[in-house]
């Protein structure tokens, strides 16, 4: 079937190379073909024989390649989609020396067919998009006339340490970074900015290195330290704090597409946090980046791997697992392996290898077959889209985490090219190998993941070090030296400072891949230490700050928005590692099919852990963080695109967690600063922004506080809530058990399986003839010591279709609210309180789920002697999951600790804190 080739951008698969043209004519005219194969071949042959000196002409990388790039979708390395047998991606091919059509005659633009085609009045090339500009056409002609010299793409040549450039002001230079930056500024006629003040620097450093704001005391100490080592000491202290590993782990986990769930439809939870904790540890230990690489890609293949080496292989077990019924495990195993190839290319080499899974890459040197040679490295692991994520490694008693495990001997798989990327459509067989355009695998290197990992971090690898330093640079400066961090190929952007990139890359390797050392060097530079304040002229000269004439300024990442507010308020738990936690989130986020697991706010300090530890479920990620551009974890994310939306304002203004932080921040400032309003405000301001407020800022915020306090004096209910916001937020803190279910104890019920009289729900009904038994009721076929809480909870047998149950309960506390049954059942049930219908369902979920008590039933409650009557109906076809367990809980009224003027005062400060946490400066690293 061949249809819809209209305006084809990509080829249809499996069509012969020679096809009908898809080039569009802009009018009905037909161009006469000019070139003849004979002449072109003769010329090309002649030229190929003489070596071409690099003649003066346009800069190939900067000027010519971007033009040729427009031709490559149809005239590039992908033979499948090549049109007119013309290739323009190398000199040999373009001149016909490789047997194809000779589009370029070096030295003679007039004779070059390419020129005729781009200048044609009708159907000029390229066929889609705008036609080439006059200037582009002139450039192309000048380049051909100068000999049509190609240069290989810069990123495919290994970096060479450049010498220091000449600069106008050697006194400004703190380390070699500054030389490269200043030399570029000199050439543009720009001057660097002054150094930022100390408060700004300590906040910038703390946020960059640890993801947390400095305390005012740290800032004071730094401001007071006049020694020449003050700055370096501060940097070392921050790099040595455990928060450093947590902050930079998050950067790495975006690449690792880390999540606490398996993805796809069921998106069940998985235990892979040991891998996350390994990343934190490895970074805090400053594991060299080459080791860090080898352990994650091939820790299991090292001799005598340690437990940590195995956990590290979790990097590639973050691929998704499909546990939906009826799925083909091989299909999803294949998807995982492809994802590993693509992610490896993205993470280490900044290349889009994934493009080559269906066809040869359009721009970069990785062919369709080479993709599958890379695939072959990853195709020998034992994992196979199994529901239990096996193989797993037992880390401790009840914690097992997915790891890579190499197949051996007869279990090993053959690898074939997948035609059009379809795993069922096998092409030629391939062996593990690396793309030919790059340095070869050493002959003695094992042809497995270990060999590949070492190849990635080999000194000859042109990309790994550049990609790594560029990533760190981008996190510190807001944009990479190569802006397209995810694409160092020919489609990516040119480096703004190529020599700086190469200096950093070579220095990084020379240092033994010392990550902390690299960061230390970057932040020590005068470039990093500039103020980010900008004059209108500076903004006009370089709006995006690509030339680095000022310091970095950009919105904080999602995690830091939360962590900073919690840290400033004193709420932040500094516990490191362990299972993910569930901080507060709005109700109803987790309504996903097949999942009855509820999001229940973690108890105690766990609800105030760093964002890194928030349970991350791919199909319903934590909403406040996705609003701030945190990725879902579905695929490798190299660079978060920062957006700016009103939904972000709603989060920082209204997210109850941030309001709770505001309330605590207010309380902290009041406790630490004494009774004076100015002192409280200064303290509050410094806790968030490090710097003290200006006079104008102070005046404005104090006015806000006074007006607010005055209004809240007249509105004590609002004042009480704002002053004790945690009481509003954590209903879980107020939930009381009125009648236990078997999760806490097994209460005694009256029950019968004989249908009772119609009045069985009423208080006065005589149930003394009924049996007596403890919940839960059901059929258990498991041994009593079964670990399954569901099986283990069954105390009383129930094997009929219907079961009638009654129990009496008292209420000791007045003013209860939010009454709800906590019911676990798989079939139907109906519940009555004092004879009044209270709750029911035809079809239960099989896990404890809340059912609100009806208003009428709640109104019937009295202090003592309430009767709960329940009819359970088994609806399943088999005995499986025949069970019911039921309890009753309620909310006690919030205990507002503050009332009257005290509440109004505290609440007014909480409102001020809410404003300060929303200041643009607070949400920005500047």
């Amino acid at each position: 079937m061949s249809r819809g080739t209209k305006g084809s951008v990509w080829p249809e698969p499996d069509e012969p190379t020679v096809r009908e043209g898809r080039h569009r004519r802009r009018n009905g005219m037909t161009l006469q073909p000019i070139a003849t194969g004979i002449r072109a071949a003769a010329v090309a042959g002649l030229l190929a024989a003489i070596s071409m000196p690099a003649a003066a002409g346009p800069d190939f990388a900067a000027e010519v390649r971007p033009i040729l790039q427009k031709c490559l979708p149809c005239h590039g390395p992908d033979a499948h989609s090549r049109m007119a047998n013309l290739r323009l991606d190398s000199r040999e091919a373009a001149t016909g020396a490789e047997g194809g059509y000779a589009g370029i005659v070096p030295g003679d633009s007039a004779a070059s067919r390419v020129m005729a085609r781009v200048t044609a009045d009708s159907s000029p090339m390229p066929p889609t998009g705008e036609r080439l500009s006059e200037r582009e056409i002139e450039t192309l002609a000048a380049w051909i006339d100068a000999g049509a010299a190609y240069e290989s793409h810069w990123a495919f040549n290994p970096p060479v340490a450049p010498g220091p450039p000449e600069v106008s002001d050697p006194g400004w230079i703190r380390n070699p970074i500054d030389g490269f930056v200043l030399s570029r500024l000199d050439s543009e006629g720009l001057r660097p900015s002054r150094e930022a003040d100390r408060d700004t620097m300590v906040r910038r450093l703390a946020l960059d290195l640890t993801g947390l704001p400095p305390t005012p005391e740290e800032a004071d100490a730094f401001a007071a330290d006049t020694s020449p080592e003050a700055y370096a000491n501060l940097v070392d202290r921050l790099l040595n704090s455990s928060a450093y590993g947590e902050r930079w782990a998050r950067v790495w986990l975006d690449l690792a597409r880390y999540a606490d769930s398996m993805g796809y439809e069921k998106d069940s939870l998985r235990t892979i946090w040991p891998y996350r904790d390994w990343v934190v540890r490895a970074l805090n230990d400053n594991m060299p980046f080459d080791e860090f690489t080898i352990r994650q890609l091939a820790g299991d293949l090292l001799p005598d791997p340690s437990t940590d080496d195995l956990i590290a292989t979790g990097f590639h077990r973050n691929t998704m697992t499909n546990t939906e019924g009826g799925t083909d495990d091989e299909e999803f195993r294949d998807a995982a392996v492809k994802d590993r190839v693509a992610t490896t290319g993205q993470t280490w080499m900044g290349l889009t290898w994934g493009c080559a899974q269906c066809h040869s890459h359009k721009y970069d040197p990785v062919s369709h077959a080479e993709f599958y040679s890379l695939y072959a490295f990853f195709n020998q692991t034992a994992d196979s889209d199994r529901n239990d994520d096996s193989p797993t490694l037992e880390v401790s008693g009840d914690v097992s985490t997915p790891v890579l495990s190499e197949l051996s001997g007869t279990e090993r798989r053959e690898t074939f090219v997948h035609k059009s990327g379809n795993f069922m459509n096998r092409g030629e067989r391939v062996e593990p190998g690396v793309p030919a355009a790059f340095h070869p695998l050493p002959p003695e290197a094992p042809r497995n993941r270990l060999g590949l990992a070492r190849w990635l971090v080999a000194e000859e690898n042109p990309l790994t070090a550049r990609v790594a330093v560029n990533r760190i640079w981008a996190r510190l400066f807001g944009a990479g030296i190569v802006a397209t961090e995810e694409d160092f190929g020919t489609q990516g952007t040119q480096p703004t400072h190529p020599e700086l990139l190469d200096w950093l890359a070579t220095e990084f390797m020379r240092s033994g891949w010392d990550v902390k050392g690299l960061i230390r060097t970057v932040v020590a530079s005068a470039t990093y230490r500039q103020t980010s304040d900008a004059t209108a002229a500076a903004l006009a000269a370089d709006p995006e700050n690509t030339l680095l004439a000022r310091g970095p300024r950009f919105r904080l990442p999602a995690e830091t928005v939360r962590d900073q507010a919690l840290a400033a308020s004193g709420l932040l738990s500094r516990k490191i590692g362990g299972p993910p936690v569930m901080p507060w989130q709005p109700a109803g986020i987790w309504q996903v099919v097949y999942s009855n697991r509820q999001w229940e706010t973690s108890p105690g300090p766990d609800r105030h852990r760093r964002a890194l530890y928030t349970l991350w479920r791919r199909t319903s990620p934590y909403p406040a963080m996705t609003t701030f551009d945190a990725p879902s974890g579905e695929t490798c994310t190299v660079r978060r695109i920062r957006t700016n939306t009103p939904l972000q304002a709603l989060v920082t203004l209204n997210d109850p967690t941030l309001m709770e932080a505001a309330q605590h921040l207010a309380g902290r400032a009041m406790a630490e600063a004494g009774p004076e309003d100015e002192a409280i405000l200064d303290r509050l301001f410094r806790l968030v922004l490090t710097r003290p407020p200006s006079a104008a800022e102070r005046e404005r915020l104090l006015a806000l506080r006074e007006e607010t306090a005055r209004d809240l004096e007249a509105d004590p209910a609002s004042a009480a809530k704002l002053a004790s916001y945690d009481q509003v937020l954590y209903t879980s803190l107020r939930r009381r058990t009125l009648l236990a279910d078997t999760r806490t104890e097994a209460p005694v019920w009256r029950y019968t399986s004989e249908e009772p009289g119609a009045d069985w729900t009423l208080s006065g009904f005589d149930d003394s003839e009924w049996s007596v038994g403890r919940g839960a009721f059901g059929i258990s076929r498991a041994a009593p010591e079964s670990k399954d809480p569901y099986e283990a909870s069954i105390r009383t047998a129930w094997d009929t279709t219907d079961l009638w149950m009654r129990i009496t309960f008292d209420i000791h506390e007045p003013g209860l609210d939010g009454l709800r049954f906590e019911v676990r059942h798989s079939g139907g049930f109906e519940a009555y309180v004092n004879g009044i219908p209270a709750a029911g369902d035809l079809d239960g979920s099989g896990v404890h789920s809340p059912y609100a008590m009806s208003r009428a039933a709640a109104a019937s409650l009295r202090r003592a002697g309430n009767v709960l009557a329940v009819r359970a109906i088994h609806t399943g076809l088999t005995d499986a999951r025949r069970n019911i367990d039921l309890g009753l809980t309620a909310l006690s009224p919030p205990e507002f600790r503050l009332t009257g003027s005290a509440a109004a005062a505290k609440a007014s400060w909480a409102v001020v804190a809410n404003v300060v946490l929303n200041l643009d400066e607070a949400l920005t690293k500047s």
Binding site: G4, V9, W10, E12, R22, H23, R24, R25, R26, N27, M83, A84, N85, G100, Y101, S123, E130, Y264, E265, G326, T327, C355, C358, K362, G489, Q491, G492, D533, A534, F554, P586, G588, V592, V593, T619, S620, S632, E634, T643, N644, T645, P646, A649, L650, V651, L653, D655, L701, A703, V728, D843, T875, L877, V911, N914, V915, N918, D920, T924, S926
Partner: protein, 481 residues
């Protein structure tokens, strides 16, 4: 073949029709880049590639896979052979989600009637839809490759059966922006108690900037997450805090010169306006009784009917793309609640009237011409009884069926009264005019004024497109007015 001849062929063959559109396309794409570079609003209205036929879209997705055989595609032959073994040749090499062994053919328990001027076949389960059938183009020849919910939903809504691509609504706001900045441009409404299988990825922005992700509006709790002020903070107090915030941010902006600060001050003001406009548009209680009786809506209830009325209110207020998901159409027949005799009528009772009301209401307000309404599931259901539990079950249902199913479109740019495509005698395969998810996507983009082949986003070195990397997606011209 000589290269010269090849060149000659290229000059003389087709593809010359769209030349004039290309200029627009490149202008358009250029303008997007410029907008981004200047830090201007990514959601401000943008010029389409060509004159759009639809300004906005209401997409009604019946998650789970509604049965075409009970609703739109009557098969007398299937009726006749109910109980017969499914022919072996239809099963060979096939994978089903649950069917094992040789299943039996199953006719429908429902009657079909010809409806409207067009005489389209409609099931007795859809009496109200039958009244508006002449406004719809029914596609009985939908076909997909995916037989599991999540991948099939993702393929339909993001163009990729795997997670991580951008959804149609995100593409729409990326390409066209939105008309009312006091409301989100892409709104998602979910009913049936559960989010669909593929979860929030179905309205994710994928590789597009996250500003384009769908915003789920809820009918209970905050209509948009975090919309309400903290407990105890009144709207007037919020206004006062925003005034102070604005003053301080302006001071900071004067000091630092940062341009982002100005944009962010504006986002806070937008947020404040959304706090008023979203609850207002979400509050259906102010609609007159006549509207409530038309839709069958009850303010405050969580229902598909309420969502239909909300959808009308949202497009009326300039929302670009409204996506409804209704969970509960996965009628396997493993229990009463998945039985095509018991539960399916409940589902159609809950949806038939509001859908017909939506079309009539849009029409009466003059909005139908510019609003595209789409109805369908991620796949259809087998002509065979699933019978997963063998003889033990008394319930009737069907397994997932990717090969043939029905969807319909109405409104903006759609020719009403059209019946497009057909299936074989038992409804197993499409036997004429197949329409794939890619075709549907191409058609939707086309109606919105976007060229499905040109419309792309550069990501990881690829021109990412809704219709995927190949050009097999085709605008289904037969449906267009």
């Amino acid at each position: 073949m000589s290269t010269a001849l090849e060149f000659a062929k290229q000059q003389t063959r087709r593809h010359f029709l769209r030349g004039c559109q290309l200029g627009l396309a490149s202008m358009f794409l250029g303008s997007l880049d410029t907008a981004r570079a200047a830090g201007t609003d990514a959601l401000s209205p943008k010029r389409p590639h060509h004159v759009p036929r639809a300004k906005s879209v209401i997409y009604l997705h019946m998650a789970g896979g509604p049965s075409q055989l009970e609703l739109f595609d009557p098969k007398p032959e299937l009726q006749k052979h109910t109980g017969a073994d499914c022919p072996q040749h239809l099963l060979e090499g096939k994978r089903f989600a649950f069917i094992k062994g040789v299943p039996q053919l199953l006719g429908t328990p429902y009657r079909f009637h010809r409806a409207g001027q067009s005489g389209a076949w409609v099931s007795e389960l859809l009496p109200r839809f039958a009244e508006v059938v002449d406004d719809a183009a029914i596609i009985r020849s939908m076909t997909t490759q995916e037989f599991n919910h999540a991948p099939a939903q993702l393929l339909l809504h993001t163009g990729n059966q795997r997670l991580g691509s951008a959804s149609i609504g995100a593409w729409a706001t990326y390409g066209l922006g939105t008309e009312n900045r006091n409301l989100p441009g892409f709104v998602v409404l979910v009913s049936g108690n559960k989010t669909p299988s593929a979860g929030k990825s179905l309205w994710g922005s994928g590789f597009l900037p996250s500003v384009h992700q769908g915003v789920q509006c809820r009918t209970q709790g905050d209509p948009v997450l975090y919309l309400s002020n903290p407990d105890g903070m009144s709207r007037s107090l919020r206004r006062r805090t925003l005034d102070a915030l604005g003053d301080l941010n302006r001071l900071e902006q004067e000091r630092s010169g940062a341009r982002d600060t100005l944009a962010r001050i504006e986002q806070y003001e937008l947020a404040y306006r959304m706090q008023a406009s979203v609850p207002e548009v979400m509050d259906i209680s102010r609609e007159p009784d006549s509207v409530h009786s038309l839709y069958g809506t009850e303010p405050g209830k969580l229902s598909f009917a309420n969502n239909c009325l909300l959808a009308r209110r949202l497009v009326e207020n300039g929302v670009r793309f409204v996506q409804l998901y209704d969970w509960g159409w996965d009628h396997h027949g493993t229990a009463r609640r998945t039985d095509i005799r018991y539960d399916l009528p409940d589902r159609t009772r809950a949806t038939d009237r509001p859908i017909a009301a939506l079309i009539a209401d849009l029409k009466q307000r003059g909005l139908l011409d510019e609003t595209l309404v789409v109805w369908g599931g991620e796949f259809g259901r087998t002509p065979m009884r699933e019978n997963r539990q063998g003889d033990k079950t008394e319930y009737y249902g069907r397994d997932h069926h990717p090969f043939a199913f029905t969807m319909w479109l109405a409104g903006g740019g759609i020719k009403g009264g059209v019946s497009h495509g057909s299936t074989d005698d038992i409804g197993y395969y499409v036997d004429s005019d197949p329409v794939t998810p890619r075709d549907l996507q191409a058609t939707l983009l086309h109606l919105l004024g976007l060229d499905p082949y040109e419309f792309h986003y550069l990501h990881k070195g690829l021109r990412q497109r809704l219709i995927g990397p190949t050009n097999e997606g085709r605008v289904v011209k037969e449906l267009l007015a």
